[in-house]
């Protein structure tokens, strides 16, 4: 029998702790009385739940029972003393029972209020009325009991009614309602300060994140003066020769500038947009470098709408030109690909240039890419570099996301 009670108690305790930790657990409980109480727990504010969880997980049932016994002993002694000092004409066990009843009621209400202050504060007036009302019911019940015990009649009750009402109201208000509400208000103020602090911290963190993301994007969006001047020089030369390619190069340059400026404003872009930007960049470079540069871009249709952080692939393509193809005596090829590798999106930029040894200052662009991947995906994404024989492969791996 005892074992079964113990078992039941342990189950309920675990269940309640689970609900305090995660309120959505309520839905998994079987309907009934346990679920009813669990729902009450789930309805509390996160901070209230947290403090109750702390309390419940450190104080076991047996410890709580022991504390209850101690409280009863103290209350009994108190009742006896009151009996001896103020009410010598009453039976001693009457005062002891009364002291225990009042004391336990106060303890219960204070405990309730300690952990569930939010509700009391939200319904301050209602709480007061309820407490006093319950007190009155108790008083009337006491009065009726007294009436039947003394064999008195209704007139006795009617005679005493005003006194009962006034006494009960004063006693209950003073002993229960006021302490309850004071504790609730104090606890609630503490909670609000805490909640405000938490909210401000979260806001600050969000702002810092956004700021660094913007800074990184702006840093990235600065169009390299080398690129711009050399391209303009090429345009000028073609125009002077009257070559139709002058207009072609200009339009690729315009595409590139427009795309990089609008990408600069958005954090995430569709993969097809990003690959379009890379394409216009590589077209410009191909006209400038002539036979020294060949390139290929391959984007499966299924991935076209996948969102990725803006300008990451472009940074890798620029790196491939600057540190792979440009320093190479005979130029080379750049291949840009994307594929879905079982839930991981892999974007590769491979160049057949000079490889890893010959790349001074290659770090900044790649650091920027790594930083932005971390901001967007945490540890879920990465950038890996490997020798490609000949050249270099830079590969971004990010968890696949459904197009939004």
């Amino acid at each position: 029998m005892w074992k079964r009670i113990e078992q039941w108690n342990r189950e309920v305790e675990a269940e309640q702790l689970a609900v305090l930790k995660d309120p959505t657990m309520v839905a998994q409980l079987p309907a009934g009385c346990r679920r009813f109480f669990a729902r009450k727990l789930a309805g509390m504010s996160p901070a209230e739940r947290e403090s109750l969880y702390q309390f419940s997980s450190t104080v076991s049932t047996s410890a709580a029972l022991l504390a209850l016994v101690k409280l009863c002993v103290v209350l009994s002694v108190l009742g006896l003393l009151i009996n001896l000092a103020f009410l010598p004409d009453r039976l001693w066990w009457h005062t002891v029972i009364a002291a225990n009843a009042i004391g336990l009621a106060m303890a219960m209400s204070l405990m309730g209020v300690w952990f569930n202050y939010g509700k009391i504060v939200r319904a301050k007036g209602k709480a007061l009325v309820t407490i006093v009302g319950l007190g009155l019911v108790g008083g009337l019940f006491g009065g009726l009991t007294a009436m039947f015990e003394t064999g008195g009649d209704w007139s006795f009750l009617l005679d005493k009614l005003p006194r009962i009402v006034v006494t009960v109201t004063i006693v209950v208000t003073a002993l229960v309602a006021i302490p309850t509400i004071v504790v609730a208000v104090l606890r609630n103020r503490h909670y609000q300060i805490l909640a405000e602090q938490l909210r401000r911290d979260a806001e600050q963190e969000r702002l810092a994140r956004e700021l660094s993301e913007t800074q990184l994007r702006l840093l990235r969006a600065q169009i390299e003066p080398h690129f711009l001047f050399n391209t303009l020089g090429a345009v000028q030369q073609l125009a002077e020769q009257g070559a139709p390619r002058a207009a072609e190069l200009t339009s690729h340059l315009i595409d590139f500038l427009r795309a990089s400026m609008s990408d600069m404003r958005s954090e995430q872009v569709a993969l097809t947009t990003e690959f379009g930007l890379v394409d216009s960049y590589l077209r410009v470079m191909q006209i400038r470098m002539g036979e020294r540069l060949r390139y290929r871009i391959d984007l499966p249709d299924a991935l076209a709408a996948t969102q990725v952080p803006s300008m990451l692939v472009l940074t890798l393509a620029e790196n491939a030109i600057k540190h792979g193809i440009e320093p190479s005596m005979h130029g080379g090829e750049i291949v840009v690909t994307a594929h879905d590798d079982g839930g991981t999106l892999r974007i590769g930029v491979r160049d057949s240039g000079v490889g890893m040894s010959d790349t001074p200052g290659a770090g900044t662009g790649l650091d920027n890419v790594r930083h932005r991947l971390r901001l967007a995906y945490g540890e879920g994404a990465c950038l890996l570099l490997s020798e490609a024989e000949p050249g270099l492969l830079a590969e971004i791996s990010i968890p696949c996301k459904e197009p939004q």
Binding site: P225, G233, M289, R292
Partner: protein, 249 residues
């Protein structure tokens, strides 16, 4: 009287542009070569020894700065760069001629006017400014060659570069001569130059690099010509006119 000019620029359109502009702004200029990388630029310089060189700073193989160092005070050097604030500041303080890409006609005219003025004088020494710019901006780290692979019959021989007495150009190949043997490697000499330590292997001729430690003596043949005698080999290596300064006391 025509002036011999070399233009080194890696992007074809920019190269054409500079050539077109030179043709109209400086009719006396005779462009002897327009190479597209640093290695070919140095080789073309050795072949033609032009009076004036226009060197793009960023080039594959060897940078314009490296080529300028090798040329020394034997040609008037004009650097060409698209955007390199530090280099431009250094050139300004060192009174080194430079052009900004894309080159604009007015600016080119000014540079040409200055060039014409000092054409007959000995070219300025740009090495100090070049050193300064190289030290301040990241330079491609080119690893020096340590070993050479050469096929000898059916075997591939590994040759420790430091044991080589001299390298000699042999059309598309390079003859590698050691104390006890010799081999042929399938790399043109001009492509080897950048990978060898310039302090250990002296270029004494367009087609010859000699290990300093293998030089026994240099002797005068006539007023213009010199030749180098070696330790460990009976071969005699001619020194071309532009490199005789290496052996002047």
């Amino acid at each position: 009287m025509s002036v011999t000019v070399l233009v080194a620029e890696d992007e074809p359109l920019m190269r054409e542009r500079l050539l077109d502009m030179l043709a109209s702004a400086w009719p006396e200029a005779r462009v002897v070569a327009a190479p597209e990388n640093g290695v070919d630029a140095w080789d073309a310089w050795l072949e033609h020894e032009p009076q004036v060189v226009f060197l793009d700073i960023r080039m594959p193989g060897m940078s314009g700065l490296e080529v300028a160092e090798r040329i020394g005070r034997r040609s008037h050097v004009v650097f060409v760069t698209a955007y390199d604030q530090y280099a431009v500041d250094a050139f300004d303080t060192g009174a080194v001629d430079y052009l900004l890409k894309p080159v604009q006609p007015g600016r080119l005219d000014k540079a040409l006017a200055r060039l014409r003025e000092k054409l007959d004088a000995r070219p300025d020494d740009v090495s100090e400014v070049v050193q300064q710019v190289k030290a301040a901006s990241p330079q491609p780290k080119r690893e020096k060659l340590k070993w050479l692979k050469a096929s000898v019959g059916k075997q591939i021989r590994l040759i420790d570069v430091e044991e080589v007495l001299f390298f000699q150009a042999d059309t598309k190949y390079t003859r590698v001569v050691l104390a006890d043997s010799e081999a042929l490697v399938r790399i043109p000499l001009k492509d080897l130059v950048g990978g060898l330590d310039a302090g250990l292997f002296w270029q004494i001729h367009r087609g010859t690099l000699v290990n300093v430690n293998a030089i026994r003596a240099a002797e005068r043949v006539d007023a213009e010509r010199m030749q180098v005698l070696l330790r460990g080999s009976d071969e005699v290596l001619p020194v071309s006119r532009s490199f005789t300064y290496l052996f002047r006391e």
